[in-house]
Amino acid sequence: MSAAAAENRATNAWDALASVEDPEIPNLSIVDLGLIRGVELRADGTLEVALSPTYVGCPATDVIRRSVELALAAAGVGAFAVTSVLSPAWSSDWITAEGRRKLEIQGIVPPIETASSMRDLLRHHQPVGCPRCRSIDTECISEFGSTPCKALHRCRACLEPFEYFKCI
């Protein structure tokens, strides 16, 4: 296979992956979330797509994997293999600028810190701004929301609840 053809397959794969949405956060693709660790052509011609799980117990992980396989098959990228990459562990730092923008559109506040600044998570509480009225007079109701990746917050100024995408 020529280098151009290989390049073409990888580009098609990336396009297909960009169409796979997170099952819990529609509109947000798995590429936006930074779940794809790489797309590489193996010597035997198999296109290897490396995927990071977000949380170890997240039920969406299996759904995402199946959606990836379906999307790659539909895009006709040829023989492919989807592998799971545990290390380095997925971090919310890998969410793209586009991903953060899409989270905001849905009223989910993207992480306000980086994982490295979270070392002392237990003592450290930065105020999370309300996505509706922008007040920083907010409180955390629970560290866990409708999915493991989000926490529940409430704005004391406008009284609306909102979700925060946790920094991990």
Binding site: Y55, V56, P88
Partner: protein, 258 residues
């Protein structure tokens, strides 16, 4: 990867990985019992999410155990087809939920243990364990933030809530001794750089727990001599009931799938 390990080394690693995986699995099952019963929707979600993380850790660890053993057992075989005495979790994990306060106390004690253990194990010479530990440590920080936050609210709350969590602490404290009771296997794993040294984990755990207890205005109970050894398969009767419920479907309908 540990594909090159064989013989007694593989046996020891298998038992050690089962200790870790069984603690996560059993605690995950316990937390799952709260689904639909927690005091508020937020806590239902919180406990269920922590349960999911625990099951996720267990899946990674029990799958690895199967690879180390190399006899074709899967994560499901380990979870659903082992007996009471083959489970190697510390007895603390299988203790009943009690009231919400007792569940929170059990969670704080184990979260702090897992956090200090996994943060150190991220540097394990066993690459697979290092990866699982690094991934899990990130999540356990949120577990402890949740459980620790509740411990402080309940301990430094009303007279009733204070009395209940203090009593739960007295009930569960004796089981914490086992977490740090270093045996031959713990030492062998530490010597090989697979696991951190338990006395080091204990020092860090003590510091964290003492800080939390002080903030929660709770008194630390005295350590007492301890006779259970879940890490060697000697369990309290509670585990039998837990397994009966968890394993019932696979025992009644072997190989059943969704």
């Amino acid at each position: 990867m540990s594909a090159s390990i064989a013989g007694p080394d593989a046996q020891a690693l298998l038992r050690y990985v089962l200790r870790l995986g069984d603690m996560s699995l059993v605690l995950g099952q316990r937390l799952g019992e709260w689904v639909g019963h927690a005091p508020a929707l937020e806590e239902d979600l919180g406990l269920a999410n922590i349960a999911l993380d625990m099951i996720g850790q267990a899946r990674l660890l029990l799958t690895y155990a199967g690879e180390v053993e190399a006899r074709g057992r899967t994560e499901d075989d380990f979870a659903f087809l082992r007996e009471h005495g083959e489970y190697l979790n510390a007895v603390l994990a299988e203790q009943p939920n009690g009231d919400f306060g007792q569940t929170i106390v059990r969670q704080v004690l184990i979260d702090a243990f897992q956090l200090e253990l996994y943060e150190r194990m991220a540097a394990s010479t066993d690459q697979r364990l290092a990866a699982i530990a690094a991934k899990s440590a990130k999540e356990v920080r949120y577990h402890l933030r949740y459980s620790g936050g509740w411990l402080v609210r309940l301990g430094d709350g009303t007279e009733e809530s204070h009395a209940r969590v203090q009593s739960a602490l007295h009930t569960l404290w004796p089981y914490t001794v086992e977490l740090f009771a270093e045996d031959e296997l713990d030492r062998a794993m530490a010597d090989r750089g697979v696991a951190p040294r338990l006395p080091d984990v204990k020092i860090a755990w003590d510091r964290r727990i003492d800080e939390l207890l002080a903030e929660a205005t709770l008194a630390r109970p005295q350590d007492r001599p301890y006779s259970w050894f879940g890490k060697r398969g000697q369990h309290s009767e509670h585990l039998g009931y837990l397994l009966a419920e968890m394993q019932h479907l696979q025992r009644a309908h072997p190989g059943a799938r969704w």
